[in-house]
C-alpha cells in the first residue's frame, strides 16, 4: 500500500499552481489590454522594433475574419518553412549524428504535429532529427503554436467586452504573447531545470567510459530550455524518444513536479485572465472549478486503478503500485499526477508507457482528450470550455424558456452554430479515421484486431484530433496512411475550432449589451457550476461512451 504521505507532494504541487494562476491571470490581462508591465523597460524597445519590422500599426484593429486570415497565414508560413527544413535536413548544418532527410509524409506529419500544438512524434528524435531541425524548426513551432492559442483566447474573450465588431490585432497579440508571457516564464522554467541537473549544451552527444558497460555514446542537447517551452506551451514533443521518462530530461521528482506546474500554469491562468479582461473577475471561478473538478476525478480514477493490476498473480508484489511502464525514481502518485496533468492540459508529454496502463487508467486519459477543456491546451483549451458554456447556456435557456445569454451578450444562432461545429468536428475526426483503419486493416497484422489494438488506433486519432500528442504504441503508425491521415486530423482538429472561436468572438463583439433581466441565468452561481460540470460529462459521454466500451474497457472482460 502506498502511504498517505506520498500524496502530499501531489497536493502541494496543485496548490502551487492554484496559488500562481490568479496572479499570472491578472498579469496576462494587463498584457492583453496594453497596460504597463514590469518588463516594459527591458522589452518595450524590442516590441517597438519588431512592430516596425513587421510593418504593423499597433492601433489597427481587426474584425474576426481579418484576424483569422492573418493567423492562418502565419501558421501556414511556419508549417511550410519547417516542412522544407525537415525534408532537406541531411544537407543542412548542425547534423553531427547524420540524421537523413525526412520522407515527405513523415515531414508533413511532423511539421503539422508541431504547428498544431499536438507534437505527436512518428519520428525518433535521436536518429531522425538534426539539431538544426530541432531548433530552427520544431522548437520555433513550439513557440508559434501556443502563442497562436493564446491569441485565439484573447480574441474570443474580447468578443464579450466590445461592441464594435473588432477582436484585436493579431500581430500585436502574437508579439506580446511571446515577449511578455512566454519569454519570462521560459527563462524561469529553464533555470529550474538547469538547477535540477538537466543538460543544456549545443553538443549533440558525449562519450562516457563505464566499468560496467564500456564506452557509451549518450545523446545530448539543449534539453533544459527545450523542456521549458515544451511544457509551458502545452506542446509535449520530447527532445528524446522516451519523452520525459528519459532520465537525462527528467532526473528527479523535483523536475517532474516542476513539469506539472509548468504544464498546468497557463491553462489554469487563462480563466482568471478572462475574468479580468471582461472586468468580472468572479466569472473565472465557475470555469476554474469545472476544469479542476473533472481533472481531480480523472486523477483519482487514474491513481486508484493504477495501484493494482488484478491480472497479475499474487507472487508479484505491487506494494508501490502497478509499476509496469513507470519509472522507479518517481512514486506512482507522482507519475500519475504528471500523466493526467499532461493529457488533460493536452500537452502530451509522458513519464509512463500508456500502453502498459490498466484499462480504467487508459479510459481516464482518453476522456480528457474527448473533452479537451479541463483545462485543455494553452488558449484553445479555455476556448473549448467557453464553447461548452455557450452550448450549456443555450440548452439551459431552452429548458427554462428564456432567451439564452452569457455575460451580457445574447447567445444567438451564429454562436450556437459555430459552437456545435467545433464540438461535433471532434467525434468525426476521431471515429471516421478509426473506422477506416479498422476496416482497411491498416497498422496491424491481419487477424490481430483485439481490444488492445483497437484501443491503440482509437488513442492515436483521439490524441491527434485533440492536439494532444501522447502515444500509446501497439500499431505500425509510421506509414503513409497514418502520417497523412494523422496530419489532416491534426490540422482540421486545430484550425476548425480556432475558426469557430474567432467567429463567435467576432459575432459577439458586434452585439450590443443585453441588460440582465429576471430570466437571466446567474453564471457565477454554484448551481450553474454544477450544471456545467454535468453538461460536459454528459456531452462527452454521449459522444464517446460506445468507443470507450469497445476499446479499453473491453480489455477488462
Amino acid at each position: 500500500m502506498i502511504p498517505w504521505q506520498d500524496y502530499l507532494d501531489v497536493a502541494l504541487t496543485l496548490s502551487v499552481v492554484l496559488a500562481l494562476a490568479p496572479v499570472l491571470g491578472r498579469y496576462m490581462a494587463r498584457v492583453y489590454t496594453d497596460r504597463p508591465t514590469f518588463l516594459d523597460g527591458l522589452l518595450g524597445p524590442v516590441d517597438r522594433g519588431l512592430f516596425r519590422l513587421l510593418g504593423v500599426s499597433r492601433r489597427e484593429e481587426m474584425g474576426w475574419k481579418e484576424y483569422a486570415a492573418n493567423l492562418l497565414l502565419l501558421n501556414a508560413l511556419a508549417l511550410g518553412a519547417v516542412f522544407v527544413l525537415l525534408v532537406t535536413q541531411g544537407g543542412l548544418p548542425l547534423n553531427a549524428l547524420g540524421a537523413p532527410n525526412m520522407s515527405w509524409d513523415l515531414a508533413f506529419h511532423t511539421a503539422s504535429s508541431f504547428v498544431t500544438n499536438t507534437n505527436y512524434q512518428h519520428y525518433v528524435p535521436e536518429q531522425q532529427l538534426s539539431l538544426f531541425s530541432a531548433l530552427f524548426g520544431l522548437q520555433t513551432l513550439m513557440y508559434v503554436s501556443p502563442a497562436t492559442g493564446l491569441c485565439v483566447f484573447v480574441a474570443f474573450s474580447r468578443g464579450f467586452q466590445r461592441r464594435d465588431g473588432t477582436v484585436g490585432n493579431f500581430y500585436v497579440d502574437f508579439v506580446r504573447t511571446l515577449t511578455r508571457v512566454f519569454l519570462p516564464l521560459v527563462v524561469l522554467g529553464t533555470l529550474g531545470f538547469l538547477l535540477a541537473g538537466v543538460p543544456e549544451t549545443l553538443a549533440q552527444s558525449v562519450t562516457a567510459y563505464s566499468p560496467l558497460a564500456g564506452a557509451q555514446v549518450i545523446p545530448l542537447g539543449p534539453v533544459a530550455s527545450w523542456n521549458a517551452i515544451m511544457l509551458l506551451g502545452t506542446n509535449g514533443g520530447g527532445y528524446f524518444n522516451a519523452n520525459l521518462a528519459q532520465p537525462l530530461a527528467n532526473p528527479t521528482a523535483a523536475t517532474l513536479l516542476l513539469g506539472v506546474v509548468l504544464m498546468l500554469l497557463i491553462p489554469l491562468s487563462t480563466p482568471f485572465a478572462f475574468g479580468n479582461l471582461i472586468r468580472r473577475p468572479g466569472e473565472a471561478y465557475p470555469l476554474v472549478v469545472t476544469a479542476l473538478a473533472i481533472f481531480l476525478v480523472a486523477l483519482g480514477i487514474f491513481v486508484y486503478f493504477s495501484l493494482n493490476n488484478p491480472f497479475l498473480p499474487p507472487t508479484i508484489s505491487q506494494a508501490q503500485g502497478f509499476l509496469s511502464g513507470a519509472e522507479a525514481r518517481f512514486s506512482l502518485p507522482e507519475s500519475a499526477l504528471f500523466e493526467v496533468s499532461s493529457i488533460y492540459s493536452n500537452t502530451g508529454a509522458s513519464v509512463m508507457a500508456i500502453g502498459a496502463l490498466t484499462p480504467w487508467a487508459q479510459s481516464s486519459l482518453l476522456f480528457g482528450m474527448f473533452l479537451q477543456a479541463s483545462p485543455g491546451g494553452d488558449g484553445t483549451g479555455f476556448g473549448m470550455l467557453l464553447i461548452y458554456v455557450i452550448l450549456a447556456v443555450f440548452v439551459g435557456g431552452l429548458m427554462v424558456g428564456r432567451t439564452p445569454e452569457y455575460l451580457g451578450k445574447k447567445v444567438g444562432r451564429d454562436q450556437v452554430k459555430w459552437s456545435a461545429a467545433a464540438l461535433l468536428s471532434h467525434p468525426f475526426l476521431i471515429l471516421i479515421p478509426v473506422a477506416l483503419a479498422v476496416v482497411l486493416g491498416l497498422g496491424f497484422s491481419p487477424g490481430t484486431l483485439d481490444p488492445a489494438t483497437f484501443t491503440s488506433i482509437l488513442y492515436e486519432f483521439t490524441s491527434e484530433a485533440a492536439n494532444n500528442g501522447s502515444g500509446i504504441g501497439g500499431i505500425a503508425d509510421t506509414t503513409v496512411f497514418y502520417n497523412v491521415a494523422g496530419a489532416l486530423v491534426m490540422l482540421i482538429g486545430r484550425y476548425l475550432p480556432i475558426l469557430a472561436m474567432l467567429a463567435i468572438g467576432g459575432s459577439l463583439s458586434r452585439e450590443g449589451p443585453q441588460p440582465p433581466g429576471p430570466g437571466t441565468l446567474r453564471t457565477e452561481s454554484l448551481t450553474f457550476t454544477i450544471y456545467l460540470i454535468l453538461f460536459l460529462i454528459v456531452i462527452a459521454g454521449l459522444l464517446f461512451l460506445p468507443v470507450l466500451v469497445l476499446g479499453p474497457l473491453s480489455q477488462l472482460g
Binding site: L73, L178, G197, P222, Q246, A319, G325, P359
Partner: protein, 240 residues
C-alpha cells in the same frame, strides 16, 4: 488599445439611450430595445510581410537565440554541468552518467529492470514494445525474467520484472534491490549482511526527505559493489 476606451472613435455606451439611435429599430419590442448589431469591420488583405517577419523573428530570437544564450551561459557559469550529472574518472574523462542504466547481466551484480533495447542510450523506448495490462505475454515475460533472476519461490516486486517507461532508467525500488541480495551473495561469496548494508547506503532518500519515494540507483550500487568482489565479475557486457 485593446480597451474600448482607447479606441479612437468614441465607443457606444452600455446605456440604451446611446448616441447612435440610427441603429435602433424604430418599432423594436421593449426587451430588444437595447440591442443593435454593429456593422462588420472592414476586411484587409492578410499581411504577408508581417507573417514572414514574425516567423523569422520567432525562429531566430526564441527557437535558436534563446538556446544559444542558455547553452553558452551554462558553459560559462558551470562548465561541468552542461551535460547533466556524470561521474568522472580520476583522469578526468566522463565515466558514467549517474542517471542512465546499463545492460548488467553478470550474476555477481545487482540487475536492472528488463529493457527491450538493452539500455542503449540512443534507443530510448518510444510508445511501442509494452505489454498491455491483461496481455498473457505480460505474465510469461515477468515469470521468465523472475526465473532468470533466480526468484522463483519468492514474492517479486513488480518493477523488477517489468520494463520502465524509458527503457533507460538506472533505478529500481528498494524492495527490488533487496530481493536480489541472496542471489548476489550466493554468486559472489559476499556476506548477505555486507550487501544489505551496501544497499541501504545506496537508497536515494526522497527530496527534502518527503517529496517523492525512495529508490536505489543500481548503476551506483554496482559501482560500489565492484571493489568488494573477490574477483572481477565474469562476463562484463560491453567491455570488448
Amino acid at each position: 488599445m485593446t480597451e474600448p476606451e482607447a479606441v479612437p472613435s468614441p465607443p457606444v455606451t452600455l446605456i440604451p439611450t446611446s448616441p447612435v439611435p440610427a441603429r435602433v429599430p424604430p418599432v423594436a419590442p421593449p426587451d430588444e430595445g437595447a440591442r443593435r448589431i454593429a456593422p462588420e469591420p472592414p476586411f484587409r488583405r492578410p499581411q504577408l510581410r508581417a507573417g514572414v517577419v514574425a516567423v523569422l523573428a520567432t525562429m531566430l530570437l526564441l527557437g535558436v537565440g534563446f538556446n544559444v544564450v542558455a547553452s553558452l551561459g551554462v558553459a560559462g557559469v558551470s562548465p561541468g554541468s552542461a551535460q547533466g550529472p556524470f561521474l568522472k574518472n580520476p583522469n578526468g574523462t566522463l565515466e558514467v552518467s549517474r542517471l542512465l542504466g546499463v545492460n548488467i547481466t553478470s550474476p555477481e551484480l545487482f540487475w536492472l529492470r528488463p529493457s527491450a533495447t538493452d539500455y542503449q542510450p540512443f534507443l530510448g523506448a518510444g510508445d511501442n514494445g509494452f505489454y498491455g495490462p491483461t496481455d498473457p505475454a505480460l505474465l510469461n515475460e515477468t515469470a521468465a525474467y523472475a526465473a532468470e533472476l533466480g526468484l522463483t519461490n519468492v514474492t517479486v516486486p513488480v518493477d523488477l520484472v517489468t520494463p520502465s517507461a524509458s527503457g533507460l532508467g538506472a533505478d529500481v525500488t528498494p524492495q527490488a534491490a533487496l530481493v536480489q541480495i541472496p542471489r548476489v551473495a550466493n554468486m559472489s561469496g559476499l556476506n548477505q549482511s555486507v550487501l544489505l548494508t551496501l544497499v541501504n547506503q545506496e537508497i536515494v532518500p526522497p527530496l527534502f526527505s518527503w517529496l517523492g519515494t525512495p529508490y536505489v540507483n543500481v548503476v551506483l550500487l554496482d559501482l560500489a559493489l565492484l571493489p568488494l568482489l573477490p574477483h572481477p565479475p565474469a562476463p562484463l557486457p560491453g567491455r570488448r
